[in-house]
């Protein structure tokens, strides 16, 4: 009906009937580039506005409400301001690395969008090792952050970057373990197959308590991996002014800022895909009528709904908790989360082998 799969098929058919196969690829590439860039801009605008509105509601205030209807255009105005600001490069900075870093961070965020299934049949690249690809590429962002911290020639930036390096590398382990437990349950690394395996129920519900533990560990680990409060030590403003992006201004700062929000979207999308069934509607056992009703809701709505629910959760964390200290942060990972997730993975494997999951 209105499914995105329908539209993509139409486009595919129209292109292949009018052009030779080589040109079809070129046109599809172009469409994908335009769509991805558009998605980036829209996501950035929506998420920044959402963050500000969520923060305002939590902090008993109104939030942006002057630019445009109900403050909808506030982020557009903010972006305009950032575009017009001078992109300053400090005198003693390593100019090449300093200017490269924000693009690297942004590029990682862009690459991560590729294997995400936004709706039924609406996916850029259904790679057969999708989960592995995500884990591999997401580790690259730490290089950009370390580069920014080092090249700025600022001690605050350096401290922030070093903290960030320790943090991202550590928390990647438990995030990987949590992801692995779903891979064990579904028996595939491919995103579409993981989603298909949740047709009769999401892994969060099907995998008993170990899946819930994996989900909680995953949420904590990705909050840390995206440098969000309470794990925002890399940019702890009361300690390091702005951490690794202290020296950045204008559009270069905006790229870091945008990459942070895109990363939040991506990790939440991955969380929704692995644990909450991606674009799969909510199905409950043998409730035929209920399940049929749920099928009427478009798959893209399901996917975005679940993703934004998780994003809201992560924003809620930020505006509630104080920041951890650096040694507490590492102790949390190495002393608690990693042993728990290792044990949990064993349990999940046991469940998968014995077929105890629903």
């Amino acid at each position: 009906m209105f499914s995105l799969e329908h539209i993509t098929n139409e486009v595919q058919n129209w292109l292949s009937s009018n052009f030779s196969s080589g040109w079809v690829l070129v046109w599809e590439c172009l469409i994908v580039i335009v769509l991805t860039t558009g998605l980036f801009a829209v996501l950035g605008l929506v998420l920044v506005l959402m963050e500000r509105k969520v923060a305002a509601q939590i902090q008993i205030r109104l939030g942006p409400n002057r630019v445009g209807p109900r403050g909808m255009l506030q982020t557009v105005a903010d972006t305009l301001k950032l575009v017009m600001k001078e992109g300053l490069t400090p005198d003693l900075a390593d100019k090449f690395l300093f200017n490269l870093a924000p693009f690297l961070v942004m590029m990682v965020a862009m690459l991560l969008l590729a294997p995400i299934a936004f709706a039924r049949g609406f996916q850029l690249w259904d790679i057969n090792i999708g989960v592995l690809y995500i884990s591999a590429v997401s580790s690259l962002s730490v290089i950009g952050i370390l580069m920014a911290g080092w090249a700025s020639n600022n001690k605050y930036s350096l401290l922030g970057a070093m903290r960030s390096g320790a943090q991202i590398v550590s928390y990647e382990l438990s995030a990987g373990m949590a992801v692995l437990s779903i891979v064990v349950l579904s028996g595939s690394l491919q995103i579409t197959e993981i989603i298909q395996s949740q047709q009769n129920g999401w892994w969060l519900f099907k995998g008993h308590i170990p899946a819930v533990i994996a989900f909680v560990v995953f949420i904590i680990a990705v909050t840390a991996e995206t440098n969000r409060a309470p794990f925002d030590l890399a940019e702890a403003e009361s300690e390091l002014t702005a951490g690794f992006h202290t020296e950045y201004s204008g559009m270069k700062f905006a790229l870091f800022f945008l990459a942070e929000y895109i990363n939040i979207f991506i990790v939440c999308a991955i969380g929704a895909t692995l644990f909450l069934g991606g674009w799969m509607p909510l199905h409950i056992g043998s409730w035929g009528g209920f399940n049929h009703l749920m099928d009427y809701i478009p798959s893209s709505i399901w996917f975005l709904g679940k993703t934004f629910l998780l994003i809201f959760l992560i924003m809620w964390f930020r505006w509630t908790f104080p920041r951890l200290r650096v040694d507490q942060l590492l102790a949390l990972e190495w002393k608690y989360l990693l042993p728990i997730s290792m044990l949990n993975l064993l349990l999940v494997t046991l469940i998968a082998i014995l077929g105890w999951h629903f």
Binding site: Q59, R163, S238, T320, V326
Partner: protein
């Protein structure tokens, strides 16, 4: 092109043995003003802290020497701007003491009420600012919701929200606003309801407790030797509440407890301030319905000329003991005025408290000292 100043070169060169010297301030989100800390770091660990002052020195003590005994009180509002009522009160009492002015009972009660409201407002701001130092933004807005009510009460009676200039030698400048009682009662009610939210959001938060407990240790002996006063010393179990030891105005007649905690750490100092707010509410509740009728200001001469001599008065501000020392030559202006500000002594303990801790804990410890820089650097 910039030529490298001493500070910039200090900032770009590593110290001996891989030590890192960073300048926190004079403009930094955690210093709440223009405090400049030169911190020597080894990795994340703080090796040495050197506070540098002087960025907001306005020579207030010297200025006071050329102002009359009525005028100099207003300048003291600009010192500890968060408890300006209490600063003014200390000066007013000192002048009254020298002139032997009898203050009407009504004025005394109003002064105490205003002082306690100021103390709550100051502690509310501190609560929000300290939570911000720890990276939590939301408590700031919750604390300011109640502080705003106090500011409105002040605005009604004093005509100002921050530098009130309400205490004058002989009493208070104006009578209280007709709505003062009603609004104060509304505030007390609101505070008692909403204080639960602070506990949920801050006090009982597991991350907050882990950040505060066992951090920034200041033993009782050290508190005495550094001359710490106020909540900082009371968090180390040192009984030093001027309101109890040397009662002034009507503090001897009201029923309240001196808050003491024996934890000696940041959490103890936090708890002292939170519990002090409850004690202030207790004082307000006792006095708000018992404001006696009568004059709000004693009849005094237009020009005050204290006799030759030295006069000292101490009061308990939100940050600790504030002392006013006046040397009079019998003229219309003081010969010399010296203020004892609580923040200066409390800041001097920072190096001792935070040495060896992580840089994040340094900010948390500094937050619990509740520093107001214009008070330290007059």
């Amino acid at each position: 092109m910039y030529t490298e100043t001493a500070i910039i070169s200090d900032n770009t060169l590593a110290g001996p043995e891989g030590e890192l010297v960073i300048n926190v301030g004079p403009q930094h989100p955690a210093t709440h003003g223009v405090l400049h800390l030169v911190i020597t770091l080894q990795g994340e660990t703080v090796k040495k802290i050197e506070p540098h002052l002087g960025y907001i020195h306005r020579s207030i003590e010297k200025m006071c020497e050329s102002l009359s005994y009525r005028q100099f009180i207003y300048v003291t509002s600009r010192m500890d701007y968060l408890s300006s009522h209490i600063n003014n009160l200390g000066c007013a009492i000192c002048v009254e003491k020298s002139m032997q002015i009898e203050v009407p009972q009504r004025a005394k009660v109003i002064r105490v009420l205003m002082s306690e409201l100021t103390r709550i407002a100051s502690h509310e701001l501190w609560l929000g600012a300290m939570a911000m130092d720890l990276g939590a933004f939301t408590p700031f807005f919750y604390a300011f919701r109640e502080r705003e009510m106090i500011n409105e009460i002040m605005e009604d009676s004093c005509g100002a929200r921050l530098t009130m200039n309400y205490m004058v030698p002989g009493g208070v400048m104006y009578d209280i606003h007709p709505q003062f009682r009603e609004k104060t009662k509304a505030f007390v009610k609101q505070f008692k309801q909403k204080v639960v939210e602070y506990d949920d959001l801050v006090t009982n938060n597991i991350i907050f407790q882990n950040r505060m407990k066992g951090v920034g240790i200041l033993s009782k002996e050290d508190a005495i030797s550094f001359g710490c006063t106020g909540p900082v010393a009371r968090g180390s179990g040192l009984s030093c509440d001027t309101r109890k030891i040397f009662p002034y105005e009507v503090y001897a007649d009201v029923d309240f407890d001196e808050v003491l905690e024996t934890g000696c750490d940041s959490f103890a100092r936090y708890m002292v301030r939170v519990r002090e707010m409850h004690q202030s509410i207790r004082i307000i509740e006792q006095l708000i319905d018992n404001i006696p009728e009568g004059d709000f200001q004693a009849k005094t001469k237009a020009v005050l000329k204290p006799p030759k001599g030295e006069f000292y008065q101490r009061v308990e501000t939100a940050r600790g003991e504030f002392g006013v020392y006046i040397v009079s030559e019998g003229g219309t202006t003081p010969y010399r005025i010296k203020f004892r500000s609580p923040g200066f002594s409390n800041l001097s303990a920072l190096d001792h408290m935070a040495r060896g801790s992580k840089i994040g804990d340094l900010m948390a410890t500094m937050g619990t000292l509740d520093l107001v820089i214009p008070d330290i650097d007059r």
